[in-house]
Protein backbone atom coordinates (compact mmCIF):
# COMPACT_ATOMS: atom_id res chain seq x y z
CA UNK A 1 0.00 0.00 0.00
CA UNK A 2 2.22 2.75 1.31
CA UNK A 3 4.81 2.23 -1.37
CA UNK A 4 7.33 4.68 -2.64
CA UNK A 5 5.68 5.62 -5.92
CA UNK A 6 2.68 7.63 -7.02
CA UNK A 7 1.80 4.93 -9.55
CA UNK A 8 -1.59 3.28 -9.03
CA UNK A 9 -1.78 -0.29 -10.23
CA UNK A 10 -5.04 -0.85 -12.11
CA UNK A 11 -6.19 -2.76 -15.10
CA UNK A 12 -7.20 -0.16 -17.67
CA UNK A 13 -6.58 0.63 -21.33
CA UNK A 14 -4.69 3.74 -20.27
CA UNK A 15 -2.31 1.63 -18.19
CA UNK A 16 -1.64 -0.49 -21.25
CA UNK A 17 -0.65 2.50 -23.38
CA UNK A 18 2.97 3.17 -24.27
CA UNK A 19 4.46 5.62 -21.73
CA UNK A 20 5.87 7.58 -24.65
CA UNK A 21 2.38 8.00 -26.09
CA UNK A 22 1.20 9.30 -22.74
CA UNK A 23 4.15 11.66 -22.67
CA UNK A 24 3.12 12.80 -26.14
CA UNK A 25 -0.41 13.40 -24.86
CA UNK A 26 0.94 15.59 -22.05
CA UNK A 27 2.92 17.67 -24.53
CA UNK A 28 0.09 17.84 -27.07
CA UNK A 29 -2.62 18.83 -24.61
CA UNK A 30 -0.53 21.62 -23.11
CA UNK A 31 0.51 22.81 -26.55
CA UNK A 32 -3.12 22.91 -27.69
CA UNK A 33 -4.08 25.20 -24.82
CA UNK A 34 -1.65 27.70 -26.32
CA UNK A 35 -2.60 27.12 -29.93
CA UNK A 36 -6.31 27.51 -29.19
CA UNK A 37 -6.47 29.67 -26.06
CA UNK A 38 -10.27 29.99 -25.89
CA UNK A 39 -12.25 28.58 -22.97
CA UNK A 40 -14.40 26.49 -25.29
CA UNK A 41 -11.44 24.62 -26.79
CA UNK A 42 -9.50 24.31 -23.56
CA UNK A 43 -12.70 23.09 -21.96
CA UNK A 44 -12.82 20.38 -24.60
CA UNK A 45 -9.23 19.31 -23.88
CA UNK A 46 -9.94 19.38 -20.16
CA UNK A 47 -13.02 17.24 -20.71
CA UNK A 48 -11.00 14.68 -22.69
CA UNK A 49 -8.25 14.65 -20.03
CA UNK A 50 -10.68 14.03 -17.20
CA UNK A 51 -12.43 11.41 -19.29
CA UNK A 52 -9.09 9.66 -19.75
CA UNK A 53 -8.44 9.85 -16.01
CA UNK A 54 -11.80 8.15 -15.47
CA UNK A 55 -11.08 5.50 -18.11
CA UNK A 56 -7.67 4.99 -16.43
CA UNK A 57 -9.50 4.43 -13.11
CA UNK A 58 -7.35 7.02 -11.38
CA UNK A 59 -9.73 9.98 -11.28
CA UNK A 60 -10.05 9.77 -7.50
CA UNK A 61 -6.27 9.53 -7.09
CA UNK A 62 -5.84 12.66 -9.15
CA UNK A 63 -8.12 14.69 -6.90
CA UNK A 64 -5.54 15.39 -4.15
CA UNK A 65 -3.10 16.60 -6.80
CA UNK A 66 -5.76 18.78 -8.42
CA UNK A 67 -6.84 20.12 -5.03
CA UNK A 68 -3.29 21.03 -4.18
CA UNK A 69 -2.97 23.01 -7.38
CA UNK A 70 -6.31 24.70 -6.62
CA UNK A 71 -4.46 26.98 -4.25
CA UNK A 72 -2.30 28.19 -7.09
CA UNK A 73 -5.33 28.46 -9.35
CA UNK A 74 -7.25 30.47 -6.79
CA UNK A 75 -4.51 33.06 -6.45
CA UNK A 76 -4.40 33.34 -10.24
CA UNK A 77 -8.09 34.15 -10.37
CA UNK A 78 -7.79 36.83 -7.71
CA UNK A 79 -4.81 38.54 -9.26
CA UNK A 80 -6.09 38.41 -12.83
CA UNK A 81 -9.68 39.18 -11.92
CA UNK A 82 -8.79 42.38 -10.11
CA UNK A 83 -5.65 43.68 -11.64
CA UNK A 84 -5.56 42.76 -15.30
CA UNK A 85 -4.46 45.88 -17.25
CA UNK A 86 -7.27 45.52 -19.81
CA UNK A 87 -9.97 45.61 -17.16
CA UNK A 88 -12.76 47.92 -18.43
CA UNK A 89 -16.04 46.06 -18.45
CA UNK A 90 -17.41 45.82 -14.96
CA UNK A 91 -19.10 42.48 -14.51
CA UNK A 92 -20.20 42.43 -10.89
CA UNK A 93 -19.07 43.63 -7.52
CA UNK A 94 -18.98 42.07 -4.09
CA UNK A 95 -18.81 44.95 -1.66
CA UNK A 96 -15.84 47.05 -2.65
CA UNK A 97 -14.39 44.31 -4.88
CA UNK A 98 -15.10 44.82 -8.55
CA UNK A 99 -14.74 41.99 -11.03
CA UNK A 100 -14.05 42.85 -14.64
CA UNK A 101 -14.97 40.72 -17.62
CA UNK A 102 -11.55 40.97 -19.27
CA UNK A 103 -9.61 39.98 -16.19
CA UNK A 104 -11.91 37.10 -15.40
CA UNK A 105 -11.65 35.85 -18.96
CA UNK A 106 -7.85 35.77 -18.81
CA UNK A 107 -8.05 34.16 -15.38
CA UNK A 108 -10.44 31.51 -16.68
CA UNK A 109 -8.09 30.59 -19.54
CA UNK A 110 -5.16 30.38 -17.12
CA UNK A 111 -7.07 28.27 -14.63
CA UNK A 112 -8.20 25.87 -17.30
CA UNK A 113 -4.71 25.64 -18.71
CA UNK A 114 -3.23 24.80 -15.31
CA UNK A 115 -5.96 22.20 -14.85
CA UNK A 116 -5.06 20.63 -18.20
CA UNK A 117 -1.38 20.49 -17.22
CA UNK A 118 -2.08 19.00 -13.81
CA UNK A 119 -4.62 16.56 -15.25
CA UNK A 120 -2.40 15.38 -18.08
CA UNK A 121 0.63 14.95 -15.83
CA UNK A 122 -1.48 13.07 -13.30
CA UNK A 123 -2.65 10.81 -16.10
CA UNK A 124 0.95 10.00 -16.99
CA UNK A 125 2.33 9.57 -13.46
CA UNK A 126 -0.63 7.72 -11.95
CA UNK A 127 -1.02 5.17 -14.74
CA UNK A 128 2.63 4.53 -15.59
CA UNK A 129 5.02 2.39 -13.55
CA UNK A 130 8.29 4.23 -13.06
CA UNK A 131 10.38 1.34 -14.31
CA UNK A 132 8.33 1.01 -17.48
CA UNK A 133 8.76 4.69 -18.24
CA UNK A 134 12.50 4.79 -17.53
CA UNK A 135 13.07 1.56 -19.45
CA UNK A 136 11.16 2.86 -22.43
CA UNK A 137 13.08 6.13 -22.42
CA UNK A 138 16.45 4.38 -22.09
CA UNK A 139 15.55 2.09 -24.97
CA UNK A 140 14.84 5.22 -27.00
CA UNK A 141 18.40 6.30 -26.30
CA UNK A 142 18.02 8.51 -23.26
CA UNK A 143 21.15 8.60 -21.10
CA UNK A 144 20.99 6.64 -17.81
CA UNK A 145 22.16 9.86 -16.12
CA UNK A 146 18.78 11.41 -16.91
CA UNK A 147 17.14 8.19 -15.73
CA UNK A 148 18.97 8.77 -12.46
CA UNK A 149 17.37 12.19 -12.13
CA UNK A 150 13.87 11.00 -13.03
CA UNK A 151 14.11 8.18 -10.50
CA UNK A 152 15.34 10.51 -7.76
CA UNK A 153 12.70 13.15 -8.37
CA UNK A 154 9.82 10.68 -8.53
CA UNK A 155 11.09 9.12 -5.32
CA UNK A 156 11.45 12.37 -3.43
CA UNK A 157 7.87 12.97 -2.32
CA UNK A 158 7.08 9.44 -1.13
CA UNK A 159 10.54 9.29 0.46
CA UNK A 160 9.92 12.43 2.48
CA UNK A 161 6.54 11.07 3.49
CA UNK A 162 8.18 7.87 4.74
CA UNK A 163 10.86 9.78 6.65
CA UNK A 164 8.19 11.95 8.20
CA UNK A 165 6.34 8.89 9.49
CA UNK A 166 9.57 7.45 10.86
CA UNK A 167 10.51 10.63 12.71
CA UNK A 168 6.99 11.19 14.00
CA UNK A 169 7.03 7.67 15.43
CA UNK A 170 10.36 8.39 17.09
CA UNK A 171 9.03 11.66 18.50
CA UNK A 172 5.95 9.98 19.85
CA UNK A 173 7.99 7.26 21.52
CA UNK A 174 9.99 10.01 23.20
CA UNK A 175 6.75 11.50 24.48
CA UNK A 176 6.40 14.44 22.10
CA UNK A 177 2.77 15.17 21.37
CA UNK A 178 2.17 14.74 17.65
CA UNK A 179 -1.60 14.42 17.52
CA UNK A 180 -4.50 16.53 18.66
CA UNK A 181 -5.60 19.99 17.60
CA UNK A 182 -4.08 21.91 14.73
CA UNK A 183 -1.73 23.94 16.93
CA UNK A 184 -0.22 20.82 18.52
CA UNK A 185 0.30 19.29 15.10
CA UNK A 186 1.87 22.40 13.66
CA UNK A 187 4.15 22.65 16.69
CA UNK A 188 5.21 19.05 16.19
CA UNK A 189 5.64 19.58 12.45
CA UNK A 190 8.09 22.48 12.28
CA UNK A 191 11.03 20.86 14.07
CA UNK A 192 10.61 18.02 11.57
CA UNK A 193 11.37 20.01 8.44
CA UNK A 194 15.13 20.18 9.01
CA UNK A 195 15.67 16.48 9.71
CA UNK A 196 13.28 15.40 6.95
CA UNK A 197 15.06 17.48 4.30
CA UNK A 198 18.53 16.47 5.54
CA UNK A 199 17.57 12.84 5.69
CA UNK A 200 16.09 12.96 2.20
CA UNK A 201 19.25 14.50 0.80
CA UNK A 202 21.31 11.83 2.48
CA UNK A 203 19.06 9.06 1.24
CA UNK A 204 19.18 10.46 -2.28
CA UNK A 205 22.97 10.35 -2.13
CA UNK A 206 22.93 6.81 -0.79
CA UNK A 207 20.48 5.74 -3.46
CA UNK A 208 22.72 7.07 -6.18
CA UNK A 209 25.57 5.06 -4.63
CA UNK A 210 23.32 2.00 -4.73
CA UNK A 211 22.53 2.68 -8.41
CA UNK A 212 26.26 3.00 -9.14
CA UNK A 213 26.95 -0.28 -7.40
CA UNK A 214 24.45 -2.00 -9.68
CA UNK A 215 26.25 -0.69 -12.72
CA UNK A 216 23.49 1.73 -13.72
CA UNK A 217 25.94 4.04 -15.48
CA UNK A 218 27.53 1.20 -17.38
CA UNK A 219 28.33 2.12 -20.99
CA UNK A 220 27.57 -1.49 -21.96
CA UNK A 221 24.47 -2.23 -23.92
CA UNK A 222 21.76 -3.05 -21.42
CA UNK A 223 19.58 -6.12 -21.64
CA UNK A 224 16.07 -6.31 -20.28
CA UNK A 225 14.40 -8.88 -18.05
CA UNK A 226 11.04 -8.41 -19.71
CA UNK A 227 10.61 -8.65 -23.42
CA UNK A 228 9.70 -5.37 -25.00
CA UNK A 229 6.00 -4.96 -24.32
CA UNK A 230 3.78 -4.78 -27.36
CA UNK A 231 1.70 -1.66 -27.37
CA UNK A 232 -1.32 -2.21 -29.64
CA UNK A 233 -2.29 0.61 -32.01
CA UNK A 234 0.71 2.59 -30.80
CA UNK A 235 1.44 4.26 -34.12
CA UNK A 236 -2.23 4.95 -34.74
CA UNK A 237 -2.74 6.70 -31.40
CA UNK A 238 0.47 8.69 -31.69
CA UNK A 239 -0.52 9.67 -35.22
CA UNK A 240 -3.98 10.67 -34.03
CA UNK A 241 -2.59 12.92 -31.31
CA UNK A 242 -0.12 14.52 -33.69
CA UNK A 243 -2.89 14.92 -36.25
CA UNK A 244 -5.11 16.76 -33.78
CA UNK A 245 -2.28 19.15 -32.91
CA UNK A 246 -1.67 19.86 -36.59
CA UNK A 247 -5.40 20.34 -37.11
CA UNK A 248 -5.38 22.80 -34.22
CA UNK A 249 -2.61 24.77 -35.84
CA UNK A 250 -4.42 24.79 -39.19
CA UNK A 251 -7.63 25.90 -37.47
CA UNK A 252 -5.78 28.69 -35.73
CA UNK A 253 -4.14 29.95 -38.93
CA UNK A 254 -7.03 29.65 -41.34
CA UNK A 255 -10.06 29.50 -39.09
Amino acid sequence: MNTMTLYVERNSPIHRLDPLVKLLYVAASILLTYILPEPLYIGGILFVTFLLLIIGKVFRNSLPIVTLSMFLIFSLVIVQGFFHPDNVTELFAIGPLVFYEEGLYVALVLVMRVLVMVGAFSLLILTTATDEMVERLIKKGMSPKIGHVILSVLQLIPQMRATMVKITDAQRSRGVETEGDLLTRVKAFFPLIGPVVLNSLNETKERSIALEMRGFDSPMKKTFLNEAKQYPHNKLIAGLITGIVILGIVWRVFG
Binding site: M1, R214, D217, T223
Partner: protein, 279 residues
Protein backbone atom coordinates in the same frame (compact mmCIF):
# COMPACT_ATOMS: atom_id res chain seq x y z
CA UNK B 1 47.45 -14.29 -5.84
CA UNK B 2 45.52 -12.00 -3.52
CA UNK B 3 42.04 -10.90 -4.56
CA UNK B 4 42.57 -7.47 -3.06
CA UNK B 5 45.82 -5.61 -2.78
CA UNK B 6 46.09 -2.23 -1.14
CA UNK B 7 49.42 -0.43 -1.34
CA UNK B 8 50.10 2.81 0.52
CA UNK B 9 46.54 4.02 0.08
CA UNK B 10 46.00 7.63 1.10
CA UNK B 11 42.82 9.60 0.63
CA UNK B 12 41.36 12.95 1.52
CA UNK B 13 37.75 14.05 0.73
CA UNK B 14 37.37 17.14 -1.49
CA UNK B 15 37.64 20.45 0.35
CA UNK B 16 39.00 18.86 3.53
CA UNK B 17 42.46 18.93 5.02
CA UNK B 18 42.82 15.68 6.97
CA UNK B 19 43.66 12.31 5.50
CA UNK B 20 40.72 9.96 6.06
CA UNK B 21 42.83 7.03 4.87
CA UNK B 22 46.42 7.36 5.90
CA UNK B 23 48.90 5.01 4.26
CA UNK B 24 47.06 1.68 4.34
CA UNK B 25 48.71 -1.46 2.98
CA UNK B 26 47.26 -4.94 3.16
CA UNK B 27 45.96 -7.75 1.02
CA UNK B 28 43.00 -10.10 1.19
CA UNK B 29 43.21 -13.69 0.03
CA UNK B 30 40.58 -15.56 -1.91
CA UNK B 31 37.99 -17.10 0.41
CA UNK B 32 39.08 -15.03 3.35
CA UNK B 33 36.76 -13.03 5.61
CA UNK B 34 38.41 -9.80 6.68
CA UNK B 35 36.83 -7.90 9.56
CA UNK B 36 37.31 -4.14 9.82
CA UNK B 37 36.90 -2.54 13.24
CA UNK B 38 37.40 0.92 14.66
CA UNK B 39 35.42 3.68 16.30
CA UNK B 40 33.05 6.00 14.41
CA UNK B 41 34.83 8.19 11.86
CA UNK B 42 37.84 5.85 11.87
CA UNK B 43 37.48 5.66 8.08
CA UNK B 44 35.93 2.20 7.73
CA UNK B 45 33.23 3.22 5.26
CA UNK B 46 35.66 5.32 3.26
CA UNK B 47 37.96 2.31 2.97
CA UNK B 48 35.01 0.28 1.66
CA UNK B 49 34.32 3.02 -0.91
CA UNK B 50 37.97 2.91 -1.96
CA UNK B 51 37.79 -0.85 -2.51
CA UNK B 52 34.57 -0.56 -4.52
CA UNK B 53 35.81 2.31 -6.67
CA UNK B 54 33.41 4.92 -5.29
CA UNK B 55 36.64 6.54 -4.12
CA UNK B 56 38.04 8.11 -6.33
CA UNK B 57 35.33 7.89 -9.06
CA UNK B 58 32.20 8.98 -7.16
CA UNK B 59 33.96 10.84 -4.34
CA UNK B 60 36.81 12.78 -5.92
CA UNK B 61 39.48 14.31 -3.70
CA UNK B 62 43.18 13.64 -3.19
CA UNK B 63 44.16 10.03 -3.82
CA UNK B 64 47.47 8.27 -3.49
CA UNK B 65 48.70 4.69 -3.63
CA UNK B 66 47.14 1.76 -5.40
CA UNK B 67 44.17 -0.54 -4.91
CA UNK B 68 43.88 -3.67 -7.01
CA UNK B 69 40.72 -5.80 -7.03
CA UNK B 70 40.78 -9.09 -8.89
CA UNK B 71 43.68 -7.83 -10.99
CA UNK B 72 42.00 -4.52 -11.88
CA UNK B 73 43.60 -1.29 -10.72
CA UNK B 74 40.57 0.46 -9.24
CA UNK B 75 41.73 3.94 -10.13
CA UNK B 76 41.97 3.07 -13.82
CA UNK B 77 38.55 1.50 -14.35
CA UNK B 78 35.05 2.88 -14.14
CA UNK B 79 32.73 1.86 -11.34
CA UNK B 80 30.56 -0.19 -13.70
CA UNK B 81 33.54 -2.47 -14.43
CA UNK B 82 34.65 -2.68 -10.81
CA UNK B 83 31.22 -3.69 -9.51
CA UNK B 84 31.39 -6.90 -11.52
CA UNK B 85 34.34 -7.82 -9.29
CA UNK B 86 33.37 -6.38 -5.94
CA UNK B 87 29.91 -5.70 -4.48
CA UNK B 88 29.00 -3.30 -1.70
CA UNK B 89 26.10 -3.52 0.72
CA UNK B 90 25.74 -0.79 3.32
CA UNK B 91 23.80 0.20 6.40
CA UNK B 92 20.49 1.63 5.25
CA UNK B 93 18.36 -1.06 3.56
CA UNK B 94 15.78 1.51 2.44
CA UNK B 95 18.13 3.59 0.31
CA UNK B 96 19.58 0.49 -1.33
CA UNK B 97 16.26 -0.26 -2.98
CA UNK B 98 16.76 1.57 -6.25
CA UNK B 99 13.14 2.50 -6.88
CA UNK B 100 13.75 1.52 -10.48
CA UNK B 101 11.65 -1.63 -10.19
CA UNK B 102 8.17 -2.55 -8.99
CA UNK B 103 9.04 -6.00 -7.68
CA UNK B 104 11.77 -7.74 -5.69
CA UNK B 105 12.38 -9.97 -8.71
CA UNK B 106 12.93 -6.92 -10.91
CA UNK B 107 15.13 -5.30 -8.29
CA UNK B 108 17.50 -8.26 -8.42
CA UNK B 109 17.34 -8.23 -12.23
CA UNK B 110 18.31 -4.56 -12.36
CA UNK B 111 22.07 -5.04 -11.96
CA UNK B 112 22.03 -7.89 -14.48
CA UNK B 113 20.27 -5.70 -17.05
CA UNK B 114 22.89 -3.03 -16.59
CA UNK B 115 25.66 -5.62 -17.03
CA UNK B 116 24.05 -6.68 -20.26
CA UNK B 117 23.49 -10.30 -19.17
CA UNK B 118 21.48 -12.14 -21.85
CA UNK B 119 17.85 -12.53 -20.84
CA UNK B 120 17.90 -16.32 -21.06
CA UNK B 121 20.51 -16.46 -18.27
CA UNK B 122 18.74 -14.01 -16.01
CA UNK B 123 15.96 -16.12 -14.56
CA UNK B 124 18.14 -18.93 -13.22
CA UNK B 125 20.51 -16.41 -11.65
CA UNK B 126 17.79 -14.34 -10.06
CA UNK B 127 16.02 -17.37 -8.66
CA UNK B 128 19.25 -18.81 -7.32
CA UNK B 129 20.04 -15.71 -5.30
CA UNK B 130 16.48 -15.05 -4.19
CA UNK B 131 16.49 -18.57 -2.74
CA UNK B 132 19.96 -18.25 -1.25
CA UNK B 133 18.92 -15.11 0.60
CA UNK B 134 15.56 -16.63 1.55
CA UNK B 135 13.48 -13.92 -0.12
CA UNK B 136 12.01 -16.04 -2.89
CA UNK B 137 8.60 -15.99 -1.23
CA UNK B 138 8.38 -12.19 -1.53
CA UNK B 139 9.63 -12.04 -5.12
CA UNK B 140 6.48 -10.37 -6.45
CA UNK B 141 6.19 -7.78 -3.70
CA UNK B 142 7.18 -4.17 -4.01
CA UNK B 143 10.67 -3.83 -2.45
CA UNK B 144 9.52 -0.89 -0.33
CA UNK B 145 6.80 -2.99 1.28
CA UNK B 146 9.31 -5.37 2.88
CA UNK B 147 10.64 -5.36 6.43
CA UNK B 148 14.12 -3.91 6.99
CA UNK B 149 15.67 -7.37 7.30
CA UNK B 150 14.03 -8.57 4.10
CA UNK B 151 15.08 -5.40 2.25
CA UNK B 152 18.66 -5.89 3.37
CA UNK B 153 18.62 -9.47 2.14
CA UNK B 154 17.20 -8.30 -1.20
CA UNK B 155 20.04 -5.76 -1.35
CA UNK B 156 22.55 -8.55 -0.75
CA UNK B 157 20.84 -10.77 -3.33
CA UNK B 158 20.90 -7.95 -5.90
CA UNK B 159 24.62 -7.44 -5.41
CA UNK B 160 25.49 -11.15 -5.27
CA UNK B 161 23.49 -11.87 -8.42
CA UNK B 162 26.10 -9.88 -10.30
CA UNK B 163 28.50 -12.59 -9.07
CA UNK B 164 31.36 -10.44 -7.86
CA UNK B 165 34.52 -12.05 -6.51
CA UNK B 166 34.30 -10.07 -3.25
CA UNK B 167 31.38 -8.90 -1.12
CA UNK B 168 31.77 -5.89 1.16
CA UNK B 169 29.28 -5.54 4.01
CA UNK B 170 29.49 -2.17 5.75
CA UNK B 171 27.57 -2.48 9.03
CA UNK B 172 24.81 -4.46 7.30
CA UNK B 173 22.72 -4.97 10.43
CA UNK B 174 23.10 -1.74 12.38
CA UNK B 175 19.67 -0.48 11.30
CA UNK B 176 17.87 -3.80 11.67
CA UNK B 177 15.84 -5.26 14.52
CA UNK B 178 17.25 -8.34 16.30
CA UNK B 179 15.39 -10.82 14.10
CA UNK B 180 16.45 -9.00 10.91
CA UNK B 181 20.08 -9.00 12.10
CA UNK B 182 19.95 -12.67 12.90
CA UNK B 183 18.64 -13.51 9.44
CA UNK B 184 21.35 -11.46 7.77
CA UNK B 185 24.11 -13.07 9.85
CA UNK B 186 22.75 -16.49 8.98
CA UNK B 187 23.38 -15.57 5.35
CA UNK B 188 26.88 -14.28 6.11
CA UNK B 189 27.66 -17.56 7.81
CA UNK B 190 26.48 -19.48 4.75
CA UNK B 191 28.54 -17.32 2.41
CA UNK B 192 31.74 -17.65 4.41
CA UNK B 193 31.08 -21.39 4.50
CA UNK B 194 30.89 -21.41 0.70
CA UNK B 195 34.29 -19.75 0.47
CA UNK B 196 33.13 -16.31 -0.65
CA UNK B 197 35.66 -13.55 -0.06
CA UNK B 198 34.04 -11.15 2.39
CA UNK B 199 34.93 -7.84 3.95
CA UNK B 200 32.82 -7.18 7.02
CA UNK B 201 32.63 -3.88 8.89
CA UNK B 202 30.79 -4.42 12.14
CA UNK B 203 30.37 -2.94 15.60
CA UNK B 204 29.21 -6.20 17.14
CA UNK B 205 32.58 -7.72 18.01
CA UNK B 206 31.01 -11.09 18.76
CA UNK B 207 30.16 -11.36 15.07
CA UNK B 208 33.63 -10.27 13.97
CA UNK B 209 35.14 -12.87 16.29
CA UNK B 210 32.86 -15.52 14.87
CA UNK B 211 33.31 -14.91 11.15
CA UNK B 212 36.52 -13.00 10.51
CA UNK B 213 39.74 -14.84 9.69
CA UNK B 214 41.71 -11.66 10.23
CA UNK B 215 40.81 -8.25 11.63
CA UNK B 216 41.99 -4.85 10.47
CA UNK B 217 42.04 -2.28 13.27
CA UNK B 218 41.65 1.28 12.00
CA UNK B 219 42.02 4.49 13.96
CA UNK B 220 41.86 8.01 12.54
CA UNK B 221 42.53 6.60 9.09
CA UNK B 222 45.63 4.70 10.18
CA UNK B 223 46.17 1.00 10.09
CA UNK B 224 46.90 0.17 13.73
CA UNK B 225 47.01 -3.59 13.37
CA UNK B 226 46.05 -6.46 11.11
CA UNK B 227 45.97 -9.88 12.68
CA UNK B 228 43.86 -12.79 13.88
CA UNK B 229 40.83 -11.94 16.03
CA UNK B 230 42.58 -13.50 19.07
CA UNK B 231 45.61 -11.23 18.63
CA UNK B 232 43.56 -8.11 18.02
CA UNK B 233 41.09 -8.65 20.84
CA UNK B 234 43.85 -9.61 23.28
CA UNK B 235 45.48 -6.19 22.84
CA UNK B 236 45.42 -4.40 26.16
CA UNK B 237 45.27 -0.97 24.52
CA UNK B 238 42.12 -1.77 22.50
CA UNK B 239 40.03 0.79 24.42
CA UNK B 240 42.27 3.60 23.19
CA UNK B 241 40.93 2.94 19.71
CA UNK B 242 37.31 2.98 20.80
CA UNK B 243 36.87 -0.76 20.40
CA UNK B 244 35.77 -3.18 23.11
CA UNK B 245 36.57 -6.87 22.83
CA UNK B 246 33.79 -9.51 22.78
CA UNK B 247 32.28 -10.11 26.21
CA UNK B 248 33.80 -13.61 26.44
CA UNK B 249 37.25 -12.15 25.87
CA UNK B 250 36.77 -9.66 28.72
CA UNK B 251 35.64 -12.46 31.00
CA UNK B 252 38.57 -14.63 29.93
CA UNK B 253 40.91 -11.75 30.72
CA UNK B 254 39.39 -11.36 34.18
CA UNK B 255 39.69 -15.08 34.82
CA UNK B 256 43.03 -15.37 32.97
CA UNK B 257 41.74 -18.13 30.78
CA UNK B 258 44.05 -18.20 27.76
CA UNK B 259 45.74 -20.35 25.17
CA UNK B 260 48.69 -21.99 26.92
CA UNK B 261 51.01 -21.64 23.95
CA UNK B 262 50.33 -18.11 22.73
CA UNK B 263 49.02 -16.55 25.96
CA UNK B 264 46.18 -15.01 23.91
CA UNK B 265 42.59 -14.87 25.11
CA UNK B 266 39.73 -16.76 23.41
CA UNK B 267 37.23 -14.71 21.40
CA UNK B 268 34.34 -17.14 21.02
CA UNK B 269 32.24 -18.97 23.58
CA UNK B 270 33.19 -22.36 22.12
CA UNK B 271 36.90 -21.67 22.55
CA UNK B 272 36.31 -20.16 25.98
CA UNK B 273 34.58 -23.35 27.13
CA UNK B 274 37.26 -25.57 25.65
CA UNK B 275 40.06 -23.66 27.39
CA UNK B 276 38.14 -23.50 30.64
CA UNK B 277 37.75 -27.28 30.67
CA UNK B 278 41.44 -27.71 29.94
CA UNK B 279 42.39 -25.52 32.85
Amino acid sequence: MSVIEVENLKYRYPDTTTLVLDDLSFSVEKGECLGIVGENTAGKSTLCYALAGLVPHFYKGAYGGKVTVNGLVVREHEIATIVENIGLVFENPFSQMTGAKQTVYGEVAFGLENMGLPRKNMHTRIEKYLKLLDVYSVKDKNPFDLSGGQMQRVAIASVLAMEPEVLILDEPTSQLDPQGSKDVFKVIEQLTGKGMTIILVEHKMEQIAQYADRVLLLHEGKQIDLDTPEKIFSRLDLKEFGVRPPVVTSIAQALTIRYPDTQLYPVTIQEFKRLEEMK
